[in-house]
Symmetry: C2
């Protein structure tokens, strides 16, 4: 039986999603609990994609196979009772045997959160990005963001040390939203390159504070050169919000 689960995690205590030799990871914590439930038979999980150290997830999606006859509603309770508090299973469903959490992704939504407070409250230090200095002009950021929508080669917004060949992705929607003293970038696309959302966030911030013009975005995209875009924004502001498996 193949199970699809939506999981949320606080990335601040993890060396990212994917298992690695050093450091605690989300994948290893979930696999440990599933393997224990499965009487010690190793159970592999597959996610929609990785997230980096310090990056959070509200709606990461994973799948795994199991011979245990637990109804979907029981899986959530069983897993949450054994998982550490910084990972929660938000929902579970049984899916067809050929569902694949990574290959079947149609779109993903990421949210990047900044606080505009001068001195942010300590509760937010791992959950929001705080850039001291000038306050951004949100209209400028919105204007710049429109250039991202559509199908583009996003090499300028990809970490330089990557082995991938195809940098073309489609961005369906970008929104800049203000909630009190928080500013959110909400971006939906058919896929994202390594560090792409954080480089977009960093570049839009530079437009906001007047370091770049809103009209520069198209030229940055066209350059296909990482050095033309802005700084990579810090990980603690980034949330994998939702993964979609239906066509848009």
């Amino acid at each position: 039986m193949r199970i699809k689960a939506m999981i949320s995690y606080d990335g601040s205590g993890f060396s990212g999603y994917q298992v690695q030799p050093n450091g605690r990871t989300v994948q290893e914590e979930v696999e440990r609990v599933l393997t224990r439930m499965n009487q010690g038979v190793f159970t592999r999980i597959t996610a929609s994609g990785r997230t980096d150290t310090g990056v959070h997830a509200v709606g990461q999606v994973i799948h795994f196979d199991t011979a245990l006859s637990i109804p979907p509603s029981g899986w959530g309770k069983a897993l949450n009772s054994q998982l550490p508090g910084d990972i929660r299973v938000m929902g579970v469903e049984e899916v067809r045997e050929d569902f694949h959490a990574r290959f079947d992704v149609e779109w993903k939504t990421y949210r990047y959160k900044w606080t505009l407070e001068d001195i942010p409250l300590p509760f937010e230090r791992h959950l929001l990005s705080h850039i001291p200095g000038k306050q951004p002009d949100i209209d400028r950021m919105r204007e710049a963001a429109t250039a991202l929508v559509g199908e583009h080669d996003f090499r300028s917004f990809s970490a330089a040390n990557t082995s991938i060949q195809d940098f073309v992705r489609t961005i369906y929607e970008v929104r800049i939203e203000r909630y009190g003293q928080q500013l959110h970038l909400v971006i939906t696309g058919n896929g994202f390159l390594y560090n792409m959302v954080r480089i977009i966030a960093g570049t839009l911030w530079e437009v906001g504070i007047g370091k770049r013009g809103p009209d520069e975005m198209s030229a940055i995209i066209a350059a296909k050169d990482r050095s033309k875009a802005g700084k990579t924004a810090p990980p603690q502001g980034l949330y994998l919000e939702k993964v979609g498996y239906e066509k848009r």
Copy 2:
């Protein structure tokens, strides 16, 4: 020169406010930084009162004396650059030499926060209280809360193991507020007994879920008996919000 500072801290990493032999405390972290700034001369801080393990502060107030000639605006930056991220200095002012952060308190406001989510997001696990089971009836809680306002002997809402003699306190205002899936109890009084807010929160919750009647509150107060009140609510929902030094 006497300095008054407002500090905020995330209580989840502390064994409470007050210095103690085992465990990291807010007081010891602040005193360590001040003592270092003061060329190794030990600098004592005095707070408006203690907070327990896991309890947070948005607006704790402290005072300390110093011979350093740093302007108030410089103190905040200097302290925040050296303090750990879970303590922030939110404001600093110079006060008269006889100001006392504890003795001069006229009122305090505490906020107790519950999440009403079925499965709370992991980001909130140290910042909100989550009581699985029935959803509370907010109108019942509001009705019960009105009995608390005024001058009362609050022995029923005091931890049993206390050495104090005078249990009379005045509650100026109690509010129950809903924000999305959060429920907040906001309570202002001239002083609070040990665990008083958490016992009030636990008792109001029991009223909310129908375990007690809203009209029982007056009898619980009159009994002057801890065993008549409800369970002590967990610490992670509690915030010392504001300390007032002017008469109400």
